[in-house]
């Protein structure tokens, strides 16, 4: 193989230009641009549940099912209410008939009669998707059908979900279920269609007692954010490291 000085220089020049092309594809961003690309600093949805105020009427579950077109009589729900009855013998009796859709009208807990004199405390705990900062359900999706929006809500792409059910297994809170009609994974999304129009989530609107509230955690003047910042609140299953964004007032240690 022969190589003149002229050939060498031309080839070297071409190679340098070709190598410079991919470098030119990179753009240097200012810190502000990076912050904007990473997340919208102005909006992050969060939820506040005041278990002290909940009376177990179940209007939230009814409103959620009708608003989000979840089959009404199917034993699945995006949100539900649990009743905890702690008796003197230290046992905790938990039930949630039909996810609490029709409220709690029966003193019996799953068919078991509990003597009212034996109950030391009994209360209701509404549950919904925690819209975690580190959502385990999103991490396990093999096809990119579930994701976290920039305002912190975890959504499911119904066109893209293959219904494998990994996310349903991965959620530590048992929030996800298989939608009986669309045959895909389904979950609470804080009524994303409502909150993006400036309305409140259907369950928040339906609650007569103010036990459920939704707000913007990035706004320090938001009434919900102020309560979360200034009062004693707890989250469910903190030890999982998912950083849930649904905060509870008056959470009992029996609540799982």
């Amino acid at each position: 193989m022969k190589c003149s000085r002229r050939d060498l220089l031309t080839t070297a020049l071409k190679a340098t230009m070709a190598a410079a092309l991919p470098v030119a594809a990179f753009r240097f961003l200012s810190p502000a641009e990076v912050r904007a690309a990473v997340a919208d600093p102005a909006l992050r949805w969060g939820f506040l549940v005041d278990t002290e105020k909940c009376v177990g009427c179940g209007f939230c579950v009814k409103a959620c099912k009708l608003e989000n077109e979840v089959p009404y009589d199917a034993p699945v729900s995006r949100t539900w209410v649990e009743r905890y009855s702690v008796t003197k013998d230290g046992q905790t009796h938990i039930d949630s008939p039909m996810a609490g859709r029709d409220g709690f009208t029966d003193p019996k807990v799953r068919g078991e009669t509990i003597d009212p004199a034996e109950i030391t405390k009994a209360f209701f705990v509404p549950k919904l998707c925690n819209q975690c900062e580190n959502p385990a359900c999103v991490q396990v999706c093999p096809v990119g059908a579930t994701y976290q929006t920039k305002d912190g809500v975890v959504l499911v792409d119904r066109d893209w979900c293959i219904g494998c059910g990994y996310c349903i297994m991965a959620c530590p809170y048992g929030v996800r279920f298989f939608h009986p009609v669309y045959k895909v994974a389904e979950k609470c999304n804080f009524c994303y269609h409502r909150i993006s129009k400036g309305l409140k989530s259907a369950c928040v609107e339906a609650c007569p007692f103010g036990a459920r509230q939704i707000g913007n955690l990035k706004d320090p003047d938001d009434p919900v954010t102020r309560i979360i910042m200034s009062q004693r609140v707890a989250v469910l299953k903190d030890e999982y490291g998912t950083k849930p964004q649904v905060f509870y007032i008056g959470l009992d240690r029996n609540v799982r």
């Binding site: 105020k53 909940c54 209007f59 009994a122 994303y192 269609h193």
Partner: protein, 157 residues
């Protein structure tokens, strides 16, 4: 190299090329990292407006007040003031166009959601007046005696 080495290699390369072509047509153009990072934000961008376009069904008390101010006012001055109209009257959706008439839930079960007596010490439920559904006029709709917009016992029908 010999032919028997090249031939399967061509087959594999062809397979990869075919896969890339199919992928190009099947994967939507707006698929990519749109969220915070690759782990949590890898998705189809067009799905967000799809969710946002979902119709709103519960329109809220203000919407009811536009046509039924007398009923909203009556309820607002009663002990039932915190209860939204649509909790009992059903979601308005596109009322009055569709549905023209809302199906009101007048069942005993609706009232019992709050007014069935339960032993729930430590919960606000114990502060609400409750009845034993089995012995308190069973089978008779509550609203035959009680006015849901004026629930005070002095205002019994």
């Amino acid at each position: 190299m010999r032919n028997h080495v090249w031939r399967p290699l061509y087959l594999v390369l062809g397979g990869i090329a075919l896969l890339l072509v199919i992928r190009y047509f099947l994967v939507p153009k707006d698929f990519g990292v749109h969220g915070i990072n690759f782990t949590y934000g890898f998705h189809r961008a067009g799905n967000i407006p799809e969710w946002q376009a979902m119709p709103v069904k519960y329109r809220g008390r203000e919407s009811c007040n536009e046509c039924h101010p007398e009923n909203v006012a009556a309820s607002a001055s009663s002990k039932h003031a915190p209860i939204q109209c649509e909790n009992c009257h059903g979601p308005a959706v596109n009322h009055p166009d569709n549905p023209a008439k809302l199906a009101i839930d007048t069942s005993r079960e609706l009232c019992l959601r709050c007014h069935a007596a339960l032993s729930t010490p430590g919960s606000q439920r114990s502060r609400i007046k409750g009845i034993a559904p089995a012995s308190h006029n069973p089978g008779i709709p509550c609203r035959d005696c009680h006015n849901p917009h004026k629930p005070d016992l002095e205002d019994m029908r």
